[in-house]
């Protein structure tokens, strides 16, 4: 393992410290907890709290700020944060209008956030939750944990955050978040693994000419492995799987996110994005806004994911609203 770290056991604390001292105008670390909160909180606004395992930076601390999150809770690398940490985040940002928890759909995340919600509710704080589940690599059925939450989670932060910033109620913000979740789908792939610092070795091995389609953001296996293709072939495969959902049609307006998993150069992401645009154009789908970059990473994994979100008038308006956070600035 070769990493720029001091100690595998303290990577999360040191990262949060670094973030807090580097971006003090945006975020403040809650003393004694792995929680980043907005430096300037808006009173009377519904507060948005998200979080999850670390290693997905800039998710989620990078999205704490105006028009997105009010707090982000950082667990150990790829491990959900514990209920006591989430509970502190909820208490720190509630200003009386209630708190919406945005949870990625993983067994541990859902359990820990639910336990924290129960603790906060016992204190009289109103808490609602939404669970993102945009990854189409996983078949949705009652026999599994359900689809995983991946890069689409960032669009939920953006849009629900804008809704809250405009002064909407907790019920309205939750409804908007649910609307995003219902209309977004993602599909990813990887060509190189990542190494969890405390584990010291890669979580999976791919041969030089191999790629894994549907790879999860924690290195969970995807749908299958195959011989690596060109960027166009990869883009085609990812988009095809998303379009097979049958929710994006000619004439629809969509937002697109071409997300890097950590070690993929922007050059490659733009090549993929070019092909994604061409495929959608051919289908008559209108691209309102495209985000290309590292939004939901998996440490130094090489690979990418594509997310599509179908927009109605409200979602479009909220998507295009301003945001000002360490990792997401839009005027």
């Amino acid at each position: 393992m070769k990493k720029i770290i001091n100690d595998p056991e303290s990577v999360v604390e040191e990262m949060l410290h670094g973030m807090a001292v580097s971006q003090p105008q945006y975020v403040t670390k809650l003393e004694g907890f792995n929680v980043m909160v907005r430096t300037t909180q808006k009173k009377g606004k519904v507060a948005l709290v998200s979080g999850g395992g670390s290693g997905h930076e800039p998710s989620h601390g990078g999205y704490v700020g105006k028009g997105m999150l009010d707090a982000a809770v950082a667990g150990a690398v790829f491990t959900s944060p514990t209920p006591d940490q989430i509970y502190e985040a909820i208490k720190a940002v509630d200003t009386g209008a209630g708190v919406l928890l945005i949870i990625k759909n993983y067994t541990g995340d859902v359990m820990n956030f639910e336990m924290a919600a129960e603790m906060a509710e016992a204190d009289g704080i109103t808490v609602e939750k939404v669970v993102t589940q945009d990854d189409v690599a996983v078949e949705n059925s009652t026999w599994t944990t359900g689809r995983r939450g991946i890069a689409g989670t960032v669009l939920v932060h953006k849009i629900a955050g804008a809704k809250a910033e405009m002064g909407a109620s907790l019920t309205e913000v939750k409804q908007t978040a649910e609307n995003v979740i219902a209309n977004e789908r993602s599909m990813g792939m990887a060509i190189l693994p990542c190494t969890v610092p405390a584990a010291g070795k890669p979580s999976f091995i791919l041969a030089d000419d191999e790629m894994e389609i549907g790879m999860g953001i924690h290195g969970e296996p995807g749908t299958h492995r195959e011989k690596i293709q060109t960027a166009d072939g990869i883009a085609q495969q990812l988009v095809d799987k998303i379009l097979a959902e049958g929710i994006y049609h000619s004439g629809d307006e969509v937002a697109v996110m071409v997300n890097g998993l950590g070690a993929t150069p922007l050059m490659e992401l733009y090549i993929v994005s070019g092909k994604v645009q061409a495929i959608l154009q051919e289908k008559g789908i209108q691209m309102v806004k495209t985000y290309v970059g590292n939004y939901m990473t998996s440490l130094e994994m090489a690979g990418c994911s594509v997310t599509l979100l179908k927009l109605d008038a409200e979602l479009k308006n909220l998507l295009l609203a301003p945001a000002d956070t360490p990792a997401f600035v839009q005027y």
Binding site: A76, T82, Q85, Y106, T107, M111, N112, V138, R148, A199
Partner: protein, 206 residues
């Protein structure tokens, strides 16, 4: 007489000793952190119970274990094992000594806690596939009038068999469920850690 702190230390040490093994099992079908998280949890447990008197009762010690795991493990294992230890603590309140009947009551309370929190059943490739057979075997041995050593041995054997059984079934809960049929052939890390803990505590109780 067996002291609660000693029993917990034996359990924790067994988990820490198996840190790499559990992590490797999790890398095959999960997200590769089970051993790391559990070892971190029991290191926190050791800090917390070191602050307790040596003769602290089982219920207090187990409650301390549960709270320490919930606040340090994370993932799914933290809430699940944390809840299990809290429920076991509730099932041995006012008990000064743990006999096999009490041990079974505690195990059953822990199983109920895991089911309440994780909404899983037997046969879904989870820790329950080790723990439920262990409880059943213990119950059968008790009913057959076996002595406590035999009851504990039967529980450990049933849990170990349960781990073997998890190799043959498809995961329908947790991250391994994403794999579908590809989870066959792999033993469940949670069932394995449950068995390691059960084995360690039974060794102390014998």
């Amino acid at each position: 007489m067996i002291r609660a702190k000693d029993a917990v230390k034996a359990v924790g040490q067994a988990v820490i000793d198996n840190k790499v093994f559990l992590t490797e099992l999790d890398q095959a079908i999960g997200d590769g952190d089970h051993g790391i998280n559990m070892a971190r949890g029991f290191e926190r447990v050791f800090e917390k119970i070191d602050a307790l008197q040596d003769d602290t009762d089982f219920s207090t010690v187990l409650k301390t274990v549960g709270m320490a795991l919930i606040s340090s493990v994370g993932g799914a294992a933290g809430p699940l094992y944390g809840t299990a230890f809290l429920r076991a603590a509730g099932a041995c309140k006012d008990k000064t000594e743990i006999d096999v009947v009490t041990a079974k009551t505690m195990l059953d309370a822990a199983i109920k806690g895991i089911q309440d929190r994780g909404k899983a059943q037997k046969g879904e490739k989870t820790m329950l596939d080790a723990l439920i057979p262990a409880s059943e075997a213990m119950g059968k041995s008790l009913a057959d009038g076996k002595d406590s050593r035999a009851c504990l041995s039967a529980a450990v054997q049933a849990a170990a068999d349960g781990v073997e059984y998890t190799k043959t079934i498809i995961a329908t809960k947790g991250r391994a469920s994403y794999l579908g049929e590809r989870s066959i052939g792999h033993q469940d890390p949670g069932a394995t850690s449950s068995t390691i803990m059960l084995e360690a505590v039974c060794k102390v109780l014998k």
